[in-house]
Symmetry: C2
Subunit: 343 residues, 2 copies
DNA sequence: TTGTAGGCGTTATCAT
DNA sequence: ATGATAACGCCTACAA
């Protein structure tokens, strides 16, 4: 073929009617003759007519594009999340503009601006771990671009958020460890500025307290999520006069670095010290020492919810309604116990 | 703010000049007075004017959107690849429309059609493993949408392709195994319909032959890439009268399933039988039994090349030039030897 | 029930 | 050097 794509104008010309007639016929407008409607639809089908989405979006001042910014797509958690986003987007005929921040706030700014210039209708973002101020994201408000924070949500409630309640999950996790007989429960938390870490810590403290144990802050370390930092944290815990017999790690990636190091230090992972974690990534099933338990955070479901939320916000924007009401959706995690024999 | 975004029309109104003057001033058109140019640029800056990409693309009949369809983004190989694509896209102000086929040809058709309706300017695709016919993709030719096949390329040369030369890589791999003293080298290949498998097999046969060994097809099994199928293949190899002492697997995911099964069968992985693989995924470093060697295929670089190729094709399309010339780019893989002690 | 015309933001082609 | 106008594809208020 390679001929030009048919337009309503072309159909109108061939049928000797006006473009508006064609437009109405194709959109089943009530005030149109049944006969003409069929003639138009018939020819449209023959010509393989498809409306030009670009033209429609342009006229409507919409792009039907939603920006999605994630730290690292290669992390299974985020690739699952974007799959959930994609699924809902496809159902609603939205398109995903994809970008990574590589956990770098400067890169994040670049990508946010690129998306603004592309006039995305909305943005779903899981901010980088170095993002402490949200100015560059909040600036989108000036452009009427709604934003949904996802998984890594700001502390402030003045934002639309979808996240997993790791606070509750952590309490449950500590309770489970207690019931298994563990009393010296350590925690390798993430960067202390981010909400994900704060929630875990609060859950940990609450969980320990509920078991009438004393919170010992010597058992709490932080990692900036690099391998080196995680290993430092493990080393500090191992060097304690009374080392822990259980270690909770920030997520499965931290877990993998932690147990790799522990293994090198001749610790029998999940026997001398048991390890539990967050995320429950399928890939851990293949690793030498999977976590004995991991908190499933349902990234796919989170992605779906985030996309549904942004769609709702984009529609409300049209309606020009309310005065700064923020949406929030919480997912309850599940503690998944791994069935396997530690070596 | 929340006011409407400024347009050239608005700037023109305020400056009492015509829109065309503004347009020319902003685009540094030669026939424009230096004074007016500065006045316009000044005001544009004050108003934070940004050209409406939608309007420009609409007029140019371009979307500046490139579709990318991958089987599974959660596979590290593909997430690396899309990162390479993203990087080049960003540099050239292209946007990525993202979709997954989940290795299902029907889903792939859906996504391809969705992208066609969105009028992507080009498509980069790594076809699903169940894609045997390419009609639905080739149909894009009728819409003047260039296609670049990526990694999993069709056998036919009548397509634009970016791929890794696993044929050469496999020869090298077999040579390395031979030099290490292994003589019974088995191969668990992928689905035999896809080019990736064909190339590996040819490389294997050539590699074995170059070492003056006899090709024994009993040592060659196939997997459809599911865990079960892979385990069947391992089982068959183990059941041979003369089992192999080295096994090459289709990729690191197949490797992981294979060694997990071998381990259950009380094989000492990488001692009784050594395992080598393709992809060299970082995640394997955390697994119980990483491949002793893995063929690095540089997915990021492949992604970059694919994006550059599609950009070139999209530009040529404009020029309405040549008669079906197909581009092809090949990346040479590297055999990476893992430094670690098998258990 | 159908046609006409204007507009979305921008660029290009004519004029002036 | 600058302005007026048409055009891209579609929709819609208004007119007939």
């Amino acid at each position: 073929m390679n001929q030009k794509l048919p337009t309503i104008k072309e159909i109108a010309r061939r049928l000797n009617v006006s473009v508006s007639t064609v437009s109405r016929a194709l959109s089943d407008h009530p005030r149109i003759g049944a006969a003409t409607r069929e003639r138009v639809k018939q020819l449209a089908k023959e010509l393989n007519y498809e409306p030009n989405a670009q033209a429609i979006f342009f006229k409507q001042k919409k792009t039907h594009v939603v920006g999605v910014i994630l730290p690292y797509i290669r992390e299974e958690f985020f690739s699952e999340a974007i799959s959930g986003i994609e699924m809902v987007a496809l159902e609603h005929e939205y398109t995903i503009l994809f970008g990574q921040s590589y956990d770098d706030v400067e890169k994040e700014k670049e990508v946010v601006n690129a998306m603004r210039r592309q006039r995305v209708d909305g943005l779903i973002i899981s901010p980088s771990k170095t993002t402490l101020r949200y100015d560059h994201i909040e600036a989108l408000d000036n452009y009427d671009i709604p934003v949904v924070y996802f998984d890594r949500v700001p502390l402030s409630e003045k934002a639309n958020r979808v996240y997993c309640n790791v606070y509750q999950g952590t309490i449950e996790m500590v309770g489970w460890l207690f019931n298994q007989g563990y009393r010296r429960i350590a925690f390798i938390n993430g960067p202390d500025k981010i909400a994900a870490s704060r929630d875990r810590l609060n859950g940990y403290i609450e969980g320990i307290s509920r078991q009438k144990l004393k919170v010992d802050m010597q058992l709490v370390e932080n990692t900036d999520l690099t391998k080196e930092s995680t290993q430092d944290a493990v080393a500090k815990l191992l060097a304690l006069k009374q080392p822990p017999n259980a270690i909770i790690t920030f997520n499965d990636y931290v877990h993998m670095d932690a147990v790799q190091y522990a293994d090198k230090q001749h610790i029998k992972v999940n026997r001398d010290i048991i390890f539990v974690s967050y995320a429950n990534l399928p890939i851990t099933a293949y690793t030498a020492n999977p976590p004995l338990a991991s908190l499933e955070q349902y990234p796919y479901a989170q992605g779906e919810k985030a996309m549904k939320m942004i769609i709702r916000l984009m529609n409300e924007k049209n309606a020009e309604t309310q005065e700064a009401v923020f949406l929030s959706e919480e997912i309850l995690p599940t503690l998944v116990i791994n069935q396997y024999q530690p070596r």
